[in-house]
Symmetry: D2
Subunit: 273 residues, 4 copies
């Protein structure tokens, strides 16, 4: 690969450069666990989920306020109302917030609540949005596009860095292949590859990477064993009633059980949760 990525490439002597977000350091010895529902649905739902994921070891609450849904007739998120609910969960639990920004015009509003701005797979190639992120006051969680090559993912990160914001975390979330048994094909090759080619922390989203809740724990363990710096996991207090992605969401109990497995694997590879 002959890609020129001067800003996000790795200094061979330095390895991953950890990124500080509030009290959390992403990319260091301690893993960063981000968990929460696909969509913010109600105060009750987001607060209950926040308490549960915090108790199990998460330091970030994830939750979509603006939702990129394939059909225009599906639930599109609570939007500003969702952001307010995330702020409430943050105030109550102390969890940091990661949530998606879909449009440059929402950047300021979302940044008031979010500690970390998620760029979704559908927008990894949205270059005018990436350019705007250069001026963002928050760090960026950049998810790999559904069929983006690793080179393209790195170039998207380079674009954000070139625009002025080099506080970036990369996220592998599964790619589109011929396989239909799972929603996507989790590409864990991406983890050591990106860790070697860039200085950026790399986390993994096994919920979208598999699409099936019972596959999230084994793939979470695998991601950590492969060297990932953290996880982004969908957890819902009542997965069967979720307005989106219920089939890939863990219950709080399943998430807690998974976290103890993740702790064991983390220790085996010299990390901790």
């Amino acid at each position: 690969m002959q890609t020129t990525i001067p800003l996000v490439s790795r200094d061979p002597s330095a390895g991953t450069v950890p990124l500080s977000i509030g009290p959390v350091e992403v990319g260091g010895r301690r893993l960063t666990i981000m968990a929460g529902p696909c969509s913010v649905e109600s105060e009750e739902q987001i607060l209950a989920t926040a308490r549960a994921v915090k108790a199990a070891g998460a330091v970030f609450l994830r939750g979509g306020a603006y939702k990129p849904r394939t059909s225009p007739y599906s639930f599109q998120g609570l939007r500003e109302e969702g952001l307010k609910l995330l702020a409430r969960a943050r105030a109550e639990t102390g969890l940091l917030i990661v949530t998606e920004v879909m449009d440059a015009r929402h950047l300021e509003t979302v940044s008031e609540v979010a500690d970390l701005l998620q760029i979704g797979s559908r927008n990894m190639h949205n270059y005018t949005l990436l350019d705007e992120l250069g001026h963002a006051t928050r760090p960026i969680l950049l998810k790999r596009g559904m069929s983006a090559t690793l080179e393209e993912l790195m170039l998207a990160a380079e674009r954000v860095a070139a625009a002025g914001n080099d506080r970036i975390i990369l996220c592998e979330r599964g790619i589109r292949t011929f396989e239909t048994a799972t929603r996507n094909t989790m590409d864990l090759n991406a983890v050591p590859y990106l860790k070697r080619a860039t200085r950026l922390p790399v986390i993994v989203d096994p919920s979208h990477g598999t699409g099936l809740w019972w596959m999230v724990p084994p793939l979470s363990r695998a991601a950590i064993a492969a060297g990932a710096d953290g996880l982004l996991v969908e957890v819902h207090v009542d997965p069967e009633k979720a307005l989106s992605d219920g089939s890939q969401s863990l219950s709080p109990q399943a998430f807690e059980a998974m976290m103890s497995e993740v702790r064991a694997v983390a220790a085996a590879v010299g990390r901790e949760v």
Copy 2:
């Protein structure tokens, strides 16, 4: 497929509903040929190309002013200056203009010059942009995402229609596969599939679909034979000096030769140029 696309779906008794853009009817018996350079580079380049493609039978001049390039360090287009050059080419030749809009904030400016607003592959999943297009005063050329299913392409069109603008043309431009001999894999299955499932005109971009200029004529003939309503073709007065996509651009001479082949195939399937 159980997709709900009430607005763009087809009335079985009606077939494709032609779309009028100025004097041109897209989706009727006459094919719509759109041709021009990947990027607007200079007045000389765009005017010379415009004259050449008009002489050969094109009714739309294509040309990128805002360019979505994978690397932030590549040429990103002449932007407003490029739009002015397109307007000049339009004034001189009478060709209609199709050019890409990458950001909702450019919508008004681009619409002053463009007769047809191109949404590029990288933005087919950019839902906030699609929503804005509902208010656009111009019709939309919606290109298929690099790994978008046909269902997702139809849902993206439905989103634009649901937002208020049902004047849409679909464009197949090749999909991402394992094959590396060509830039993309042209999916001509898409043509009869989309023509049957929707009422929208369908055109084909063999330049991106193949990535190799010498493959553009055979795939253009094939697209027309498969039932496409038109072509979107890259033509450059001097392909070897093009600032982008030179290897897939036809010279004016090659384009003219191709057009006579396309005319013959069109006649064989009951169409004309």
Copy 3:
């Protein structure tokens, strides 16, 4: 591409080298149409289909005696009995026979009936079978593997040629991609690519390439417009009762209608049926 394929590569001054099989020349001005059922099912079925496809312009009868089915519990073909029925159809109609050989141990038996030995997609990478074909007394129809690159297809042909049999026809039959609306993605880029890189005739199988009978006519027209030397099409006297592949089989009436469209396109590109 740096592939070394000395035996099947093209002499730039010569173009495709036509291949004579009995009275038929494959790869010349006249297109070669091969048609018939997926599987030979009964004397009545194969004879009725043979008469119908001959009347419509086919010169080869296709029909599977040995069937590679994904499930071991599906119908696996009539085997030797199927070969006898093909021989009967050949004797009655004068059509040449193309049928699949799945195993080197069947080579002699199949060669007694077949004028052209089909190697199916699942066996394109079966190198011991390819090596045996070097000693075959019949020419080979080599189908592209489901995810074989064009380079791998050419190397498979080179292997047969290196083993002693350079009488080979290549067949594009669709590749495996993420798209689920169609059975496979027909890759018509393959046609001009293979015609330029090799001296071998190239035919197209739109039945497997689409998986839907109503898409076979437009893709057949497209294949011919792209420069293919012929077609391999599934036709069944009663598609709804077919033991395999009924949904992608044309009725004799639909095949006849398609053939008149194919004739028109062929004429437009300087070919004839």
Copy 4:
């Protein structure tokens, strides 16, 4: 998925059914490590590698005698001579032997030396070979085809079982996708999926799954963390001089280092080496 796979499907109350091969139990608490060169090249090479992988914890020696190479002009393996060398390595070290059988006609010869018969990716769809394996006296290591769905892999195993041999191990070895940074895309989703859907042990080949030696340790750790029952790893005494696959082969030193990492992860998930 509606696949009917009565013979290899899982009894929900039983989980994976371990398979005994000599003193080794595959699919139990203890992981099964298979390691060795891509190709058997010489007595010196195979014996040195065998001693090294045994010392590091392998219980099977892998090594190709018959090699399925994409180009007919590449090294095709030492064949019978290679089998003799494997027998010698077995006699000296006590390692069990796993080696590929490419053709039913080699089945008896290979079975004299091999304790486990490998069916390579290129032959997963070679149904006449699968049918013959029903009569084999040895268990089968069935590698997933390059673009085989998990359903097709299970059906291929079912075919072998239906033919009379239900002693089968499945092997995930990476699938073909658009990504070019790695040789294949390792699909670790396959591990929990196959373990849940079938009663068969599942192992992983990270050498082919990545194509890059430095990615083999992290992906090996990941495979074990995901629940795999073992690994199939390419190790060569002098990777830079390997006649095939050198870039994905580990040196004995790198393999030994990796094994201690694998041991730690195995312990973390309740397994041992």
